[in-house]
């Protein structure tokens, strides 16, 4: 709103700049102004040189304005602003006043032509600033107070209000736009500019005079500003302020430079970094994992790009992945949130993996899982969203793993879909057994634990009582040989688990279409869907739907030709894929390269693929589909 308001006032405001222009504040003020390139201003400037001594000081009447500012003159002001601040100044005239206030225009006088008196006049920029801040730019005055480096009470708030982390490139463009429209950005950019100038002065002083006091004082002034803004904020604004008019460059820099660093500093995402660097960790590191150690890991990733090719075996997925810089770039381009590090290799149901990722994308707050690889926890994000959804649409057989308990006294049988992991969520095998034990235990609830069979020793006191579910190393989320020990008694005969999945991604007939995952998803989440048949459509969809993704089924042989070797033209191992972004690097603008997240890659290792390969892979699946269904669709809210 603020932005629009000021835009509408742009012309009015410029009335105040009555034929004004800016001169350098240097002592040698006879030096011509900054606008030599413009004919009109050259003429005015020549007059200025002649009449400078005669120019009266600030006259309020003139600032009330009767004469409009010529476009050329406005252009001149903008032309002489530092390039990165041009956009800010252009969008918000009060920004110019602020920039003048913090001495960023490099001027201390404004010259303007007073038509009433038919002469040029000179006004000190401090008076101009004072006038505007008390008038039309009063909002700016409040900001001036708030964002003043001396305002210690505002410091904590400013330091803690960080630029939000864009999840993907399109959000980054939105962020760039929002920063450009935010009047506070002008202040921060002014500070960034000041710090850079101080740093330059300190450097030059060091080279020329080695004046330690001057260097120290300049550095202190710079540091004071950095402290006020906060180091992270300062770095982020530094990137923004250098690229106020170049959103693509801003996004390339802010996302590429910071992804792993942000991951390491965020306690939620710290285990992601841990998983990448697990092979660097000593045993003593494995229990505690501080930000400091994470930063060491980031350094290792930066110096050893191949570190990211492989993963901790606990986070089972396809490899090799990408080298660290590529991985970081792909993650920045991908829209899929990485709230937890997942392990598709431990799930025997690719529909569940794909569905869970799509559901988490559209309803991130609902499916916010903790990190962890222990005891199959990394499968949670790939299973529970789908199991919840399947049960909601009455398609529980889509998950396929079902546990049943036969009550020996009543003869009744209770069955439910379960997933093998150690969490206490309602569909975990552990919860199922805990519920089952209520038949045996009269007092209180029993808590069970999933533990590796090799660790269980019935002779040890701690295992003599309580509930233990012993699992084999070969366990995955769907299938797991197990033994149940309750107070050292076996409950195995009373519980059986079957794995018979029957779930359709998209329908084979009208009948199956209705209860297929795809149709149910669109119905339940009220999504719109459109077919994506070529690269142009894919690009357009991603551009027009910043919160949408493209999903479908492709042949693995075409996307991973190294691993999936074709043996006949009818061969196609169906592989659900998501297209979660597009390579928007300047150098690849004319290429059709997309970010692909397939069900065999972990969510932290999306890949860049040429459209030609994606299309080929989807087309071959389409050809063998009984209804010749084209599977690639863009879905959005």
């Amino acid at each position: 709103m603020f932005h629009r308001f000021w835009q509408s006032l742009l012309n009015k405001v410029f009335l105040f700049f009555i034929l004004c222009f800016v001169t350098k504040s240097h002592a040698q003020s006879e030096v011509p102004g900054l606008f030599e390139s413009l004919d009109v201003l050259i003429q005015v400037d020549q007059k200025n040189q002649r009449k400078q001594t005669e120019i009266p000081l600030f006259d309020r009447r003139i600032l009330q304005g009767q004469i409009f500012l010529e476009e050329k003159q406005l252009n001149s002001i903008l032309f002489n602003l530092p390039r990165n601040l041009t956009t800010l100044g252009q969008d918000n005239p009060c920004s110019l006043i602020h920039l003048m206030n913090i001495n960023q225009l490099g001027v201390d006088h404004i010259l303007f032509f007073d038509r009433n008196e038919n002469q040029l006049k000179r006004v000190g920029s401090d008076k101009i600033v004072h006038h505007y801040l008390n008038g039309i730019c009063s909002t700016q005055r409040a900001l001036d107070k708030k964002l003043n480096v001396r305002n210690q009470s505002a410091m904590a708030q400013i330091r803690n209000t960080l630029i939000p982390i864009p999840k993907h490139i399109d959000q980054c463009y939105q962020l760039h736009k929002a920063l450009g429209e935010n009047p506070e950005s002008t202040y921060f950019c002014g500070y960034v500019h000041q710090v850079e100038r101080f740093q330059q002065i300190a450097q030059e002083s060091g080279q020329v005079s080695q004046n330690i006091n001057q260097i120290r004082s300049t550095n202190l002034r710079a540091q004071k500003i950095i402290d006020f803004m906060g180091k992270n904020n300062f770095k982020d604004y530094q990137i923004f302020c250098r690229n106020t008019d170049q959103p693509r460059k801003f996004c390339d820099q802010i996302m590429n430079a910071r992804f792993f660093e942000r991951m390491a500093k965020n306690s939620l995402t710290l285990p992601f970094v841990k998983s990448q660097c697990s092979n660097l960790q000593t045993k003593s590191h494995s229990t505690g994992y501080s930000t400091e150690k994470a930063m060491n890991c980031i350094q290792a990733m930066n110096s050893k790009p191949e570190l990211c090719l492989f993963h901790n075996p606990s986070y089972s997925s396809y490899f090799p992945k990408e080298i660290c810089p590529s991985l970081e770039e792909n993650l920045n381009l991908s829209r899929l949130p990485i709230l937890s590090y997942d392990c598709p290799g431990k799930v025997e149901n690719d529909l569940a993996i794909q569905a869970s990722r799509i559901l988490s994308f559209f309803e991130p707050d609902k499916y916010n899982y903790q990190w962890g690889s222990k005891d199959l926890s990394c499968t949670q994000a790939l299973t529970v969203p789908y199991i919840d959804f399947a049960s909601k649409i009455d398609q529980e057989q889509g998950w396929g793993t079902q546990a049943c308990y036969k009550n020996p006294k009543k003869g009744s049988r209770r069955c439910q879909p379960i997933v093998f992991h150690n969490h206490s969520s309602k569909n975990s095998f552990r919860s199922f057994i805990e519920k089952t034990l209520k038949d045996f235990q009269t007092k209180g609830n029993v808590e069970c634990q999933l533990i590796a069979k090799e660790l269980f020793d019935p002779k040890r006191l701690e295992y003599q009582s309580g509930c233990y579910i012993l699992i084999e190393p070969s366990c995955n989320a769907n299938q797991c040989p197990f033994e149940i020990k309750f107070n050292n008694r076996s409950l195995d005969p009373l519980v059986d688990v079957q794995f018979e999945p029957k779930g359709w991604y998209s329908g084979l007939s009208e009948k199956t279409s209705n209860f297929s995952f795809e149709q149910s998803l669109i119905r339940q989440l009220k999504l719109s869907s459109q077919s994506i048949k070529n690269a142009k459509q894919a690009k357009k969809f991603l551009e027009e739907n910043p919160n949408g993704i493209i999903h479908g089924i492709a042949c693995a042989e075409e996307l991973y030709p190294q691993n999936y070797r074709r043996q006949g033209f009818s061969q196609c191992r169906p592989l659900p894929i998501l297209i979660t972004g597009r390579d928007r690097k300047v150098t690849n603008q004319n290429e059709n390269i997309f970010v692909v997240q397939s069900v065999i890659d972990s969510n932290s290792s999306p890949r860049l693929m040429d459209w030609s390969y994606i299309h080929n892979a989807v087309h071959l699946y389409h050809q063998i589909h009984p209804q010749k269904k084209w599977s690639l669709n863009g879905i959005s809210r």
Binding site: E306, L309, F310, H311, P313, S316, S317, Y318, F319, P320, G345, K346, N349, D350, L351, Q354, P501, K502, G503, W504, Y505, L508, I553, E557, E558, P561, Q562, N563, Y564, R565, R566, Q567, G568, F569, S570, Q571, C572, R573, P574, L575, P576, D583, K585, T587, N588, E591, I593, V599, I600, L608, D610, S612, Y613, H615, N616, H619, L620, Q623, I624, P626
Partner: protein, 339 residues
């Protein structure tokens, strides 16, 4: 169905101009239904909408399989065309899981009989179609089926502790010398030689780069190992095994090296000394395109480009013929044109 299958090869003018020997493959019936046809086009195999799988020979249709629900299958046959193996996924649409074991059926080409020989993926015929190897991801084992005796003779446990999607490549030099690929704890891929009688394993070749992928093939009794990287700037190389029929230690010799991205596996015919693979000719590190089919001649030790700016991303053998996937089309190598 009773159709006499005529395979029609249509020469496309563009293809002739730019790619001397790769031509579009078309058949009178949709390729989606056609599963396999013999080189003389006398026998063909089809999947039908009625959940059945048929063979058509001498204008007579025989039903080979009928399943309860919509399934999908694909074939594997060697250039000899004595036997054929079908990998059948009976829950192709109702259980998506790329790691699952499929049903493997074996038949003599032209025979009305078909037998289930095991559950696994990626079957391969060896030694004049008398042996079939296949891999079971669920058991992490490579099984070896002896067709004349109808027995699973032995199996190899694959180590691979880290990549659940890894599919080992297998070549049988003779019944006592089997070469296969495996991955170790440090993510290094290696080609190993296994002797089923002594149950011994010997190393043959190990990748030198972290993101390399090994593939094997047998060209005129020479075992070729491709150590390919899909990254521009990394080295890709071809090696031949020197003394597989002797005692270990086994040795290899590098015969080709290049730093462009190499895509997929190598393919070679047992009957000649030509190795086919796909190489990227891209100047952009983010893109693999254009990518073209390349042929390496083992006798002359040199390679030549077969296609030009074709964006090919798969090359494979079917019944001894070289096929390629390109921009949603199936291409076949026209041998005459290539000579």
């Amino acid at each position: 169905m009773g159709l006499v299958v005529k395979i029609i090869l249509i020469l496309n003018l563009n293809t002739l101009l730019f790619a001397q020997s790769l031509i579009p493959f078309t058949a009178k019936v949709p390729t989606a239904a056609l599963v396999y046809f013999t080189k003389d086009a006398e026998i063909s195999y089809y999947k039908k909408r009625s959940h059945t799988f048929d063979m058509v020979a001498k204008n007579k249709t025989t039903q080979l399989l009928k399943l309860d629900e919509e399934f999908h299958l694909w074939p594997h046959a060697s250039y000899l065309e004595k036997r054929i193996v079908f990998e059948v996924d009976p829950t192709y649409y109702s259980h998506l899981n790329i790691k699952k074991d499929n049903d493997l059926y074996l038949s003599q080409i032209g025979s009305n009989e078909i037998e289930l020989i095991g559950r696994g993926i990626q079957p391969k015929l060896h030694l004049a179609d008398t042996w079939i190897s296949f891999y079971s991801p669920s058991r992490k084992r490579i099984f070896f089926y002896h067709a004349p005796s109808k027995e699973l003779k032995f199996n190899i446990e694959v180590n691979n502790p880290i990549n659940p999607y890894f599919i080992p490549q297998v070549e049988m030099i003779n019944p006592q010398t089997i070469v296969y690929t495996d991955v170790n704890q440090k993510s290094q891929t290696a080609a190993l030689v296994f002797n089923p009688i002594s149950e011994s394993f010997e190393p043959l070749y190990q990748t030198t780069q972290a993101d390399s992928f090994l593939s094997l093939c047998n060209a005129q009794s020479q075992l070729v190992i491709a150590d390919f990287s899909q990254k521009q700037g990394n080295l890709s190389a071809l090696h031949i095994a020197l003394n597989l029929k002797d005692s270990p230690p086994y040795q290899t010799k590098q015969i080709y090296q290049n730093d462009s991205a190499h895509i997929g596996s190598i393919t070679c015919k047992e009957t000649d000394n030509l190795i086919y693979f796909i190489k990227s000719f891209s100047s952009n590190p983010s893109s693999l395109l254009p990518s073209d089919l390349v042929r390496f001649n083992l006798s002359e030790m040199k390679y030549e480009k077969i296609s030009h700016n074709s964006n090919i991303n798969q090359v494979y053998l079917m019944g001894g013929e070289v096929f390629a996937s390109q921009k949603s089309k199936i291409l076949i190598l026209n041998e005459e044109g290539s000579q």
